[in-house]
Symmetry: D2
Subunit: 377 residues, 4 copies
């Protein structure tokens, strides 16, 4: 979406004061009145110049470090004495400007009587061709699309399609929880997920199979080791290992095991995720409220290109009900485009469209991407 | 909600032409280019004066009858040769003005970054006290609240609460389908609904009980006759008969029976409903997508008080999921306020609050209403 | 599914009495104690022989007509004096046997601890290949699959896929409501559905387009006439007319218009539907609670082949939530197999799999079916 | 529910061998073929006697420690060399018996045609009186009901009702995540939740309020300290502190902050939860999939009373959709009773019924419980 930068020459902005910074009173504690960030483009006046913070995200503080660099930083990471911006005004009058209209269409007349104006509905068409083109463009330009997925992805047989996206260079990083990897690995070892066969039947003795899968990986030491030892022979985690696509598995309170790769500390898990969200140029969130909101919290609503221009960060949120998408938006990820469908079907059709678009001039599958070519020997 | 009438002295409106009317080409067929109505306040310029149509509703034509009266009328009811307004512009430039901003809050800055901005969500608080006060006010002023309900109301034990609202004068008319009455009457005769006991257990032989209930009413000739004969001894339909609260039961393709009172023709059913929607001063739509949208289609978004002033028609839509409310809004009933909860719980708490509010000065239950007092001897 | 007929030589069944029939007391009124049917194979002992009723369905009476034919018949169609079976026992002890275990798997040990035992869940895999094979087999054997659909089918761009199924001989009959046809015809004439563009945007002035579409068909006189006159040039209804696939449009209380082909009387609508349900050899119910339950009420759970053998009537129910499928089962259509997904995606993948299966030896598309070849010149 | 213990005198069980134990190969790694536990009563033959493990739960191993005590223990907690039971058979033939029918009704004929047989549906009645009696009984007998809640509880104004249950001795322990406490504390300090007012409006500047609330508690050092310092003056966390009701807040990847009391490591969080689940005599799971499944994983399906008898552990799961309850059951918590409604309404009516039942002979509120009386001065 096109982006019109703010006009800093308006009298109000031209006359705006410098932002005020005060020291943090203690480790992990912000000064009262701290400025609480959003995911929108934000400009901070320092020494008369408007500057943008590094690693922008919502629900963070603005920290000016000793070297003079400006950061968006979570409160728990701020150390006593670090300089933190103060203020509540978002219009620049206290030296901080949030560009709320950056990516929003002007609301127009607004009042016209219309049908079908809801933001998210299963009754809205899904434009797979457009999503496919976005993915292909991202791959072509060397973008970094992050995929954030829930276990339904594996559970309902979308596994082969996810493997295809990984193998063909469309996945910058995979962010998920223990269950995605457990189901995927159970499927590789035993052909079931939570003991359910590929045709949806609960199998006898099946309730223990995910525990046996976890135990084998724990015995191997790590997912990569289990792949190397031939314990895991196919599937999503196997594809990540083989194609060197980074993954982050963060722990949750409902985890069995967990697998050895899971980061059980949630603060550490967020750090690991942030290493990818700060690089993200697109986000695909599938069948997970927990991880979608986690990623949404960390993602800016925009991508900063190499030349400094900003564009909207395409964010697709797929779920079986309108509720998860609305919930995500209600937590500030307004840029999310909601797709209300079954994860399995979404993956299958999206792959189909990507294949079609590539066949129609997108070039040979995988060839365009440096990532796609790298397979561990 | 306060209402600011349009300013007809603006140059554009002062200079607006009269609306153009052309004859309908055939019975039930409108002229090409007919003006298609909305549920918002609408003004039609005729002989230089701005007039409002009678029986306003959406999806209708504007008909100027031989007597010079102006009506909103469904296309199927228009006869060949009747004068029908032409035009698409809703800004008065073709003589027809739709007052789209009548009840809408000005959208304000709009762009501010906020959480929790979704229109309908189970995460929003439900203000039962306000709804209770609305109902009590309606009763006090002699309003005409219509209740439009689905079978879940009966199925899940909200039956006693609905009876209470009927008996205490809070129900102007009940609009529902065959199933509501069938479940209610099965509950009166057999103590079950679709063979399910009051504690939720499927009973042996229960699958035929709704058919036996229907058959007994068919034998009696009507619901009122079955009440008179002692076949039906309690419940919602019984209360309607006893308290002379009118009800309209309209048929649907999934009906068993149906009961003798059911209007099986959908066009005739809409006529019967419209006799109540044109009088409605409030609408409570509970646990029904079908009938809620049917009523929403017929209801204006506003009430015209005796002195000609307009106010918003309070419309409450209760359903277990956000989807039904969004769907209703997507069909133009934008004024609907969504309550996402279980029908049984809604009824129970709403009654509790009404009782509390009445106890706190609302006057003795039922005494304020002419309707409440009338019980068939 | 294999079917083991009841063993009538067991002592209990061998000694069973003839069923008792008593005359109906009035038109449309059944005698007290009437036997209320299910959708399962049912055997009635008459003159010492076990006979099956014609036109089996649930929620009906068993009528022995003057010619000695035995029928399942809705109470409202029974005339005074007609002989109606009496009894509640379903085990043959009163001369009526319901074969409840006909198509059910033996429940086995039952008690084993298992995961993933829910009947319907978005977490279960969807076996499109199997559904595709069923459709192809039905076409090959000259079966009569009925498709029962809601408006979401059209609304969300599954229209082209539905046209494909019609054109290629996979649709015996289409059973739907006014809205499906209205949306489809609006799409043909104006390129929108309820004023929403194909990419999901509400268009200016769009709220009246469905009314304009209806009006044009009313002017033409019927859908077929509108096709003949070039008013409707593509889409689902166009395909039905062109390929002589019968359709039944039944009215509902929320209908706009309606279109001239709509049967507004619900009893007459059920008669029209029954003409197809009694022939049905498969049922595909998509994105409609109302029509799915209506069809489920009328459909036997089994198909009677020409040689008298019975097999389960494959019934697929597609909806965005588990609730509709559970509701359908809770109304007795236990044979329904639930697919929890978006209607648009379902149609797209199902078509893809049918194309694949046909390409893999299913024979040239359409060639196998007498229906597929017939196109109105 | 009554419980019939297994009959160990049957020939098969009398002749059963002792269970086989083999040493764990490494810390946190189980031997291949380990027995994977369920949440049902389990008997292990050791030295010819049938014994029950301590701290029963699903997805664990059976460990015989050096002192000869038998435990259900998660694999990650098993140390190298500890003796772990081997086997897959659950019928005693390998020395381990899972009593699958302990609390299940015999499935009976099974085949009868019935309506309304789904396990979980919004169409089923909710028996608040029974749930109220259960809670009152638990309090009277000194039971330990654990409440596991999601943020919707606070978000939608059920806060006052939750405080009432805490203050009146109905809460043994509160298990939740960071968000419940953050919303609750934001409500205490600012009167909003995620910036949304009590009437559901998004407030200007509101998006930062939860961060400010977190920061104040971080400055105070803990929730208890913030209560002591007067930072938190009412609400759920305040009530827990004042009434000495223990709470466990476990971290998740989507947490803001988090609050200082949150256990960010998921393995440590599970340990903290288990300290309460092993004591639980009842479980109420409200508006949370994540924590409900986490608790369900740890909870046995039964309570072992002081005299060694077993009874079913009453487990109530409240959610707006059938899906969460089905998902919980699909993960093995089959004993869960599903209530499909809004959390706010559930809390309000449940409290009302508890008050009524107590008024009707339940004794003075709180007086019966040692817990209820303790308030921090």
């Amino acid at each position: 979406m096109t982006f019109a930068p703010p006009d800093f020459t308006t009298p109000a902005l031209a006359a705006a004061p410098d932002a005020v910074f005060v020291p943090a009173p203690a480790d992990g504690v912000l000064p009262e009145g701290f400025f609480s960030t959003t995911n929108l483009p934000t400009y901070v006046r320092i020494g008369g110049a408007w500057r943008v913070p590094r690693e922008p995200r919502m629900d963070a503080a603005l920290v000016l470090d000793a070297a003079g660099d400006l950061w968006s930083r979570e409160g728990r990471r701020v150390r006593a004495g670090e300089r933190v911006a103060i203020g509540r005004a978002e219009d620049g009058s206290e030296g901080i400007l949030v560009h709320t209209d950056a990516f929003r269409a002007p609301s127009g007349s607004g009042g016209e009587f219309k049908f079908m104006t809801s933001e998210v509905s299963r009754e809205k068409p899904i434009d797979y061709a457009q999503m496919a083109r976005l993915l292909i463009e991202e791959r072509a330009r060397g973008g970094y699309p992050i995929w954030v997925t829930g276990p339904a992805l594996v559970h309902s047989r979308a596994r082969a399609d996810m493997v295809w996206f990984i193998a063909n260079g469309f996945v910058g990083a995979l962010l998920a929880g223990n269950a995605v990897a457990v189901h995927d690995i159970e499927a590789s070892i035993f052909g079931t997920t939570l003991g359910m066969s590929g045709s949806g039947e609960a199998t006898s003795g099946g309730h223990g199979l995910h525990m046996r899968a976890i135990n084998r990986v724990r015995a191997a030491g790590s997912i990569a080791a289990a792949v190397a030892q031939g314990v895991i022979t196919d599937g999503i985690m196997h594809a990540c290992v083989r194609h060197r696509v980074p993954f982050v598995l963060t722990g949750s309170i409902r985890d069995d095991g967990p697998l050895p790769d899971v980061i059980t500390d949630s603060a550490a898990g967020q750090e690991a995720m942030r290493a990818h969200t700060v690089r993200a140029t697109m986000a695909i969130l599938i069948a997970t409220a927990l991880h979608a909101i986690a990623a949404g919290n960390m993602l800016p609503a925009f991508v900063t290109d190499a030349d400094g221009t900003l564009r909207e960060l395409a964010t697709i949120c797929v779920d079986s009900s309108e509720f998860v998408v609305s919930k995500l938006k209600d937590r500030g990820t307004h840029q999310a485009f909601g797709v209300v469908t079954n994860a399995q079907d979404f993956m299958h059709i999206l792959r189909l469209y990507v294949e079609r678009e590539m066949g129609a001039g997108g070039g040979p599958a995988g060839a365009a991407s440096p990532r796609a070519a790298s397979v561990v020997a």
